[in-house]
């Protein structure tokens, strides 16, 4: 049940999603990946991809135009 952080600040689509997918592949079930983003485009595809894959997702708005996407690996 480890927690990992992925810094995607300053990165535009499709980079955050590609980095998330790569990092997530190495995680175990129950692990949480926190993806830090500040490009609104990543707010659309990163959560959508993760949910489609069956994982649990919650997002915190940490500042104006900055978010942390929490993805819990479900399988």
């Amino acid at each position: 049940m480890a927690e990992y952080r992925l810094d995607c600040l300053g990165e535009a689509c499709p980079v955050p999603l590609l980095k998330t997918q790569k990092k997530f592949a190495g995680l175990n079930v129950g692990d949480v990946l926190i993806v830090e983003i500040d490009h609104s485009c990543a707010m659309k595809n990163v959560p959508e991809w993760a949910r489609k894959e069956g994982h649990n997702v919650e997002i915190e708005e940490t500042g104006d135009g900055e978010w942390e996407i929490y993805i819990e690996k479900a399988k």
Binding site: C13, S40, K44, N45, K52, I59, E61
Partner: protein
């Protein structure tokens, strides 16, 4: 793990134009309100580069900037936001609703559904393999920069397809458009059509549909099929944008609320669904025109309807059906002479039986739904008297109401 339960007056599912407007109105009405949004607040409008027809802004607005203003306004009225998806909705016996998320269950008085739609897919071969930044996109504003000096194909010919296609020509080297119609026919508005036909970077491939997507890691080729000749046309691309309409996000409401044949939620003019205290607004609703400007109207109406519903439910539970004293409720309509004539008698009774009875007046003109909630249907004539004992309606009297009859009804209610 038991999920935590928290109470709110109103839950709004979906943070697009309709949901945010409902939030603004609910927040301003001092209702404790929470909006659930599963990704970016702002909804479909954030997928639009420029919005030119939302009144109040003479100059074109970036979709995302306009929606940020909506969000800021909702926050100013104390509306809370939760950025997660809703897993399910249930209605409790007492009329409250449960909205379940990953960690928490929200228990609310009224629920406003503003879940909008999701882009429709072509259903062509291998489509799933190239979703999520592998070549198939639904958002020109999100991905345009990535396609600078590259070649893209648009599928569709409506407003979104042509307007976003025009936007893409600012970045891409070539924007091809697969159109199902005959040469020269587009579904988009005339202004967009004129601009598109005049734009040297745009090229139309008429009478075509997508047959197959091909590539390795990323999409490389789209095979189009000519619907008249059945000819297969391979188009080499760096990316494809699908603008072939939307499907309503209503899966989690199936079985709870009546949907139309295409999955949209049916409502009346007050945005009420067939479940009491549940409303639907914006693109998810069965309606004629899906625009920011129409979503805003829906949101305002639903919020006001929800506010009435909550205050009536409170009045019903905390006033009319609560407490030990028997109640005599005078149902009247201000425009009727015989209703008005009896008012002084009601006031007189109120003073006379102050200690023994609760005597209330309900104006039908303002509170018709309250009366139907109380005794399931309207009295057959007015004025009428409803009596409540032990929290239950015991009689509805609407014939030959005279001052004497009123006195008698009150006396009959006296304990002992």
């Amino acid at each position: 793990m038991e999920k935590k339960i928290v109470d709110y007056d109103v839950a709004i599912i979906g943070g697009g134009a309709a949901g945010l407007t409902a939030g603004i109105y609910c927040g301003r009405a001092r209702l404790k309100t929470i909006i659930f949004e599963k990704s970016l607040v702002g909804g479909l409008a954030t997928y639009t580069d420029e919005i030119e027809n939302y009144p109040g802004f003479a100059e074109p607005q970036k979709g995302i900037e306009l929606m940020k203003k909506f969000e800021a306004q909702a926050k100013r009225f104390g509306v809370e936001f939760k950025l997660t998806d809703v897993k399910g909705v249930r209605v409790l016996e007492d009329g409250r609703k449960l909205v379940e998320t990953f960690r928490v269950i929200y228990r609310v008085r009224a629920l406003i559904i503003a879940t909008g739609g999701k882009p429709r897919l072509t259903g062509a071969k291998n489509e799933e393999d190239f979703l999520y930044d592998k070549g198939i996109s639904f958002c020109a504003t999100c991905d345009a920069a990535y396609y600078t000096d590259k070649e893209v194909l648009i599928v569709g010919s409506g407003d979104a397809a042509i307007e976003e296609g025009l936007f893409l020509t600012k970045f891409a080297r070539k924007v091809k458009v697969s159109v199902i119609h005959d040469a020269g026919t587009l579904d988009a508005n005339k202004i967009a059509q004129e601009q598109a036909f005049a734009n040297p970077k745009m090229e139309f491939i008429w009478n075509t549909m997508v047959e197959e997507f091909r590539g390795n890691e990323r999409l490389e080729t789209v095979i189009l099929r000519n619907t008249k000749t059945e000819e297969l046309i391979p188009v080499t691309v760096d990316g494809v944008f699908l603008f072939i309409g939307y499907l309503p996000n209503t899966e989690i409401f199936q079985g709870l609320i009546t949907l139309d044949g295409r999955g949209y939620i049916k409502t009346n003019e007050q945005m009420e669904t067939d479940v009491e205290g549940v409303y639907a607004v914006g693109d998810v609703r069965e309606k004629y025109l899906r625009q920011v400007s129409t979503a805003v109207g829906d949101g305002a109406i639903a919020a006001v309807t929800a506010e009435h519903y909550i205050s009536e439910s409170n009045y019903l539970q905390n006033q009319l059906l609560a407490g030990e004293k028997p109640k005599l409720i005078y149902v009247w309509e201000p425009t009727k002479e015989d209703c008005r004539q009896l008012l002084p008698v009601v006031e007189e009774l109120k003073v006379k039986f102050e200690d023994e009875l609760v005597i209330e007046k309900i104006d039908v003109y303002k509170s018709q739904s309250l009366i139907t909630k109380l005794c399931s249907k309207m009295p057959s004539a007015l004025p009428a008297v409803i009596t409540v004992e032990d929290g239950k309606v015991t009689s509805v009297v609407c014939q030959q109401l005279t001052p004497e009859k009123l006195h008698q009804l009150a006396s009959d209610l006296l304990p002992g």
